[in-house]
Amino acid sequence: MLDAYAETGRDMRASAETTENQDAREDHVAEFINVSKRFGAVLAADQLNLGIRRGEFLSFLGPSGCGKTTALRMLAGFEEPSEGCVRINGSDMSAVPSYRRPVNMVFQHYALFPHMSVAQNVSYGLRQRRPRMAKAEIATRVAKALETVRLEDFGGRRVWELSGGQQQRVALARAIINEPTVLLLDEPMAALDAKLRADMQRELLDLQRSLGITFVLVTHDQEEALSMSDRICIMGGGRIAQVGTPQDLYDRPCNRYVADFVGKANILSGEIVERADGCARVVLPSGAEVLVSEEGPDTRRKIEIVVRPEALGIGVAASPGDAALKARITHRTFLGDHTEYLLEAEGIGPVQVNLPRQAERASGRHEVGDEVHILWAAEAGRVLAAEN
């Protein structure tokens, strides 16, 4: 078991390195090169290799304790890598303290200075510059930064008089006024309520596009990462599990961990019996045969398949062309635009199927307890890299 785990680790690293080599020609604004970080006996970051492209919106996504915040803090200079190095604009940051790095951070709880006004908070970074920047110049830039975050009239306010969303904007203005090479965002939306969060996400995206600054976001919220990022770096146990565009990760998760973390996923075990043209015929434990996308070696072997709930359908009878699995409906949850069905498939176990409103209207509504068929269109599923 342990050996198998170590094996997977090496695989992951190998794949991460390949990505790195492919990206070598690209313009990287920041890079992690074999970066590990130990806190005592805990390995918080394990051999990270990642290039962050200039101007992109990259998210570190993962559950708490996966190493995403550690990675961000190493970029900011709050933590030193135990091994490897972090580069920004091509130069090694090992000996560069946080106050000399061309990056700025928006903190999770904003970390505004309560003894300063909004304008004083925003101008703080400019006031640290040597030689000193002219007062008039600072005032102009503060006004512009406040305008960017739509807080024009708030310069004289105390930060503790502001609402959470307004404080968030001050934190943002305080960071972007310095025109950083990379803007780091540490779960900036975590403390906002859902409505405000959605607004703020949209504003952040607009801001990123208009400023052209590279944004690196840390989040545990997969929807946030999916909706905002150009690329997502999924982390688990201190390692990079997969890096890719949101669609890549959703459609082609490289392992069970990623499949589970990004979107909802049914993960079924099976055995490849035959393959052709990037497709494999897989026998499920129930004996049913399904066609799934696959690009692995041509061998008969046990595998796992990921299939998204919305890729499946429900029918009263098996329809020709589709593989069908007999199942009984155990739960039905109406969610407005779609309905979630939880089914117990014969010989397989629980399977989730999401039916959009239209499909449900066409096929008729199914009730809990109904004996139905799960309809599986060819290539709806995808084979995961074997994990054990």
């Binding site: 900011a76 946080s98 106050y99 970390a111 970074g125 305080r174």
Partner: protein, 268 residues
């Protein structure tokens, strides 16, 4: 219950108010009121011995409070970066320092200093011709060491409600560690530091017990009052006592105002 409270507070504060009242007596008796006058205040302020003792007390209080504030603030700052067992040991030591009776500290310090002086004086004398002895130095040192724990407790309390992420934010925005301290940390803990200074000052100014042991040939105001009581109490003592009390209360009230939660917010 209310009667009980009245009795307790009466027992505590009646003698003090009577002293304040009698200090305005026109007669020569310290324990009765005979007419009204401020004569005894004038006498006290014109008494060269009183003024000399007051001057000594002020010097000791000021310099020991400076010492306590500097060392105590630095200790409190260092403690926030400390975790685990070592931190617990320091916390306990600081608390114990406040709780040990003054008389124990006084005797212990006296013995320690005398032993130390006996040990090093031959060397120092042969090198410089001077001798270490009890006096202003030992008073300032002892009061400074003792009141340092008060400052540590106050400043540490303020630091605990201080969001440490602000320090990272300041570094992130380009301020060096020193710049961060001057612009972010210090302005926010300044009220607690000032309150610590005032408490340390008041404590030193009022202390009799510890000072009595290590004062050597110096006479602080409390020591002067104690020795003049042995020669007989006059309303002059009442007047001095009242003035000391008013000064101390003023400082304590200012310290309390500074320590009110959220005080650092108001100013910028």
């Amino acid at each position: 219950m209310r009667l009980y409270a009245v009795a307790v507070y009466g027992f505590l504060y009646l003698p003090i108010s009577i002293i304040a009242l009698f200090s305005f007596s026109a007669g020569r008796n310290a324990s009765s009121m005979q007419g009204f006058s401020t004569e005894w205040y004038a006498r006290a302020l014109n008494n060269p011995f009183v003024m000399e003792a007051l001057w000594t007390s002020l010097k000791v209080a000021f310099f020991s409070a400076i010492l306590a504030t500097l060392a105590g603030t630095m200790a409190a700052l260092a403690l926030t970066g400390m975790k685990g067992r070592l931190r617990a040991i320091f916390d306990v030591l600081v608390q114990i320092a406040v709780m040990i009776p003054g008389i124990v500290i006084g005797i212990a310090t006296l013995i320690a200093l005398v032993t130390l002086f006996d040990l090093v004086n031959p060397w120092i004398e042969s090198l410089t011709g001077w001798r270490l002895s009890l006096g202003l130095g030992s008073l300032i040192g002892l009061h400074g060491m003792f009141t340092m724990s008060l400052v540590v407790l106050l400043v540490r309390g303020r630091l605990e409600s201080f969001d440490r992420a602000q320090i990272e934010a300041s570094n992130d925005l380009g301020a060096s560690p020193l710049g961060t301290f001057m612009q972010v940390t210090f302005p926010q803990i300044a009220p607690a530091i000032l309150a610590g200074f005032l408490l340390a000052f008041t404590f030193s100014f009022d202390d009799f017990i510890m000072a009595f042991f290590v004062a050597g040939s110096e006479t602080t105001l409390p020591i002067y009052i104690f020795s003049s009581i042995r020669r007989g109490v006059t309303p002059e003592i009442n007047a001095i006592g009242t003035m000391v009390m008013v000064a101390s209360l003023t400082l304590l009230i200012v310290a309390q105002i500074l320590l009110r939660p959220g005080h650092s917010r108001g100013k910028g």
